[in-house]
């Protein structure tokens, strides 16, 4: 948990969420949530089960429509952007889904190459080394011709990260990256995240509730709460663990059962 390894982020917001309200039918899951994410930081969204963290992430990347509020990424407001702006924005973002969501009918090579072939005019002889280096970056060198069904859970996640990074995005989103992974694989994934952040400076937004990962990689966190339908804590997790005045926050970080 040596935090001098974490890259110092800029103080320039790359993502601004303003008064975001998320609704599913009649149920309001999140209400008036506002926060900023700075360029280059590793930002974690956490909270108990059902607090809306995956929902928040999906609204931030435009998979669901906001009931109200705005989300501004790289200067573009996703709630009012037209189709062309959205496609441009999506190319600057990458997402790792909880199930890795690799395309089952394509090999790893084809999965990672897909965004490159679709959105760039690069010839195959340049795309080829790009795909191989991306796979190499996540420790999957040599697995180009494997199908997703032939990989373990941890490998699938890493392949998903390679694909998310194909276009060298400025922001990477992770939905519960450690879910279903053993502690060693989970730690390796944390190390990969830290190294990518340190080496390339990509802003990373991670939804998780794995404490070890949080303390190991986070610059800043926000904690969501189901009853408040919003943020109950914001800041450095190590600080919050020791000094927060909110018992829900300290219980979470100190892993204390509530009854």
């Amino acid at each position: 948990m040596d935090n001098t390894e974490l890259r110092t982020p800029n103080s320039d917001p790359i993502i601004t969420v303003e008064n975001l309200t998320a609704r599913f039918g009649d149920e309001t899951v999140l209400e008036n949530v506002s926060f900023e994410i700075y360029r280059g930081e590793i930002f974690i969204i956490l909270g108990g089960s059902g607090c809306g963290k995956s929902t928040l992430l999906k609204h931030m990347i435009g998979l669901h429509e906001l009931a109200s509020g705005r989300v501004i990424i790289n200067g573009i407001d996703i709630t009012s952007a037209d189709d062309n702006e959205m496609v441009k924005l999506r190319r600057s973002m990458g997402m790792l889904f909880q199930s890795s969501a690799l395309f089952g009918s394509m090999t790893l090579y084809e999965n990672v190459a897909l965004p490159l072939m679709e959105f760039t005019r690069l010839p195959l002889k340049i795309i080829d080394p790009i795909v191989k280096t991306k796979l190499g970056m996540v420790g999957l060198s040599g697995y180009e011709n494997h199908l997703p069904s032939e990989l373990s859970g941890g490998m699938k996640k890493r392949a998903g990260i390679a694909r998310a990074m194909a276009l060298d995005p400025t922001v990477l989103f992770f939905d519960e990256p450690s879910a279903g992974l053993d502690p060693v694989t989970s730690a390796e994934l944390d190390m990969l995240i830290r190294n990518l952040n340190k080496g390339i400076g990509t802003t990373m937004v991670i939804v998780t509730h794995e404490l070890e990962s949080i303390f190991s990689v986070a610059h800043r966190i926000i904690m969501l709460d189901k009853s408040k339908k919003g943020i109950i804590a914001e800041g450095d997790p190590r600080e919050l663990k020791e000094h927060s005045e909110n018992p829900r926050v300290t219980n979470f970080f100190n892993r204390k059962a509530t009854h």
Binding site: K58, I61, G62, L63, M86, V87, R90, R91, M93, M95, F97, Q98, S99, A101, L102, F103, G104, L114, P115, E118, F119, F173
Partner: protein
């Protein structure tokens, strides 16, 4: 030590303070016998105060603990003071594990009640209405994407188109051929039974070829494609939805309709008309078998009579019909797939629904064509 031995004893005067001693095993295996026995013993003694002596219990599980709690509650209900005696730590441990409130707490949401007949009709109508809206909405989106793709041919995933052309067309040919061959056989045979009476066997080939080219060829091909490929498209896209692969496409900046549906629909458009022609051909061959072996027609006569009956107009309209049906079948298959939200059962429902809806559309469109063509001719 077996967990199915127990013994009960009561001591004390009738109507006074009673001690109920339980020994042995108070567990899932014994409580069903223990309970009525306790009931009988206590009813005999009619206690004014009840103590449960647990000192000789050597095995207690949560079912046994529940039994004791029920005893306690029953005593409370009858306003009889109740106490435990000789509760070992182990017994205490299990007793505290049980959440007594859970027994009497109200559920958060009420039980699903069976809804009445009229409610069901209402619900079904609303679902049908919503469904029609979704299909129309998807139809609009699909139309836009087809037009876009026709003007931007380079944006179409042609390798996928070829893969689906093989799956829908080439792989479907054997079954289309076999079924239409048998259909031709049957039609020729059945019609000849009537026509024979008038010595009019010569009309069998023309009846068959006209029926196939105008109506049955397109319909049979469409039905078989709906069953084979309409369902496959729904299952494929539905499973991708469940695996978040469609979400991944969206976040990567792809349009899922353009990426997943267009290749399937283009493949169907190119291949279903060809399947229709083969359907016509195999049916005529089936009729040929009957004509030659049962109706004493020569091959030359049969073929000549078949061809004479159909016009270029018939063939062109049947091709147009095939294209329209292809778009509808592939389209509804994809639409059902995109509508999947839940897990395996949802995918199964979508697959079934794709076939049923496609069959319905086939008949509806065919009727419309029949009416239109009757005005044109």
């Amino acid at each position: 030590m077996p967990h199915d031995q127990y013994a009960l004893s009561v001591s004390g005067e009738k109507g006074g303070s009673i001690i109920l001693s339980i020994s042995g095993s108070a567990s899932l295996d014994t409580i069903s016998l223990m309970l009525p026995e306790i009931k009988t013993l206590l009813e005999e003694k009619h206690p004014s105060k009840l103590t449960a002596d647990l000192g000789n219990i050597d095995y207690l599980d949560s079912a046994g603990a529940l039994l004791l709690i029920q005893l306690e509650n029953e005593a409370k209900r009858k306003s009889v003071p109740f106490a435990y005696l000789n509760m070992s730590d182990k017994v205490k441990g299990i007793m505290t594990l049980l959440d007594r409130d859970a027994i009497s707490a109200n559920p958060i949401i009420p039980e699903k009640r069976t809804i009445g007949f009229f409610e069901r009709i209402g619900e079904a109508s609303i679902n049908l209405y919503d469904d029609i809206l979704e299909v129309i909405s998807f139809g609009g989106e699909l139309t836009l994407e087809i037009i876009y793709s026709l003007f931007h041919l380079r944006s179409v995933r042609w390798t996928d188109v070829i893969v689906y052309m093989k799956k829908v067309g080439v792989d479907g040919l054997p079954i289309v051929g076999l079924i239409t061959f048998l259909l031709g056989l049957i039609l020729a045979f059945m019609s000849s039974l009537q026509l024979k009476q008038f010595g009019a066997n010569i009309y069998v080939p023309s009846l068959l070829s006209l029926a196939m080219v105008r109506e049955l060829g397109p319909i049979m091909a469409a039905i078989l494609v709906a069953g084979r490929s309409g369902s496959a498209f729904a299952a494929e896209i539905g499973t991708m939805k469940v695996n978040e692969e469609v979400d991944a496409l969206i976040t990567m900046g792809f349009n899922p309709v353009r990426f997943l549906a267009i290749p399937k629909i283009f493949a169907a458009i190119m291949v279903v008309p060809i399947l229709t022609l083969f359907a016509d051909l195999f049916a005529i061959i089936g009729g040929l078998v009957i004509g030659v072996f049962f109706l004493d027609l020569t091959v030359y006569t049969y073929v000549q009579q078949s061809i004479k009956a159909i016009t270029i107009f018939n063939i062109v309209t049947s091709m147009i019909k095939s294209v329209v049906l292809a778009i509808l079948i592939a389209g509804i298959g994809c639409q059902r797939g995109f509508m999947v939200r839940g897990g395996a059962q949802d995918v199964g429902n979508a697959t079934t629904s794709a076939v049923v809806a496609a069959l319905f559309l086939i008949i509806a469109v065919d009727s419309i064509f029949a009416v239109l063509l009757s005005y044109i001719e």
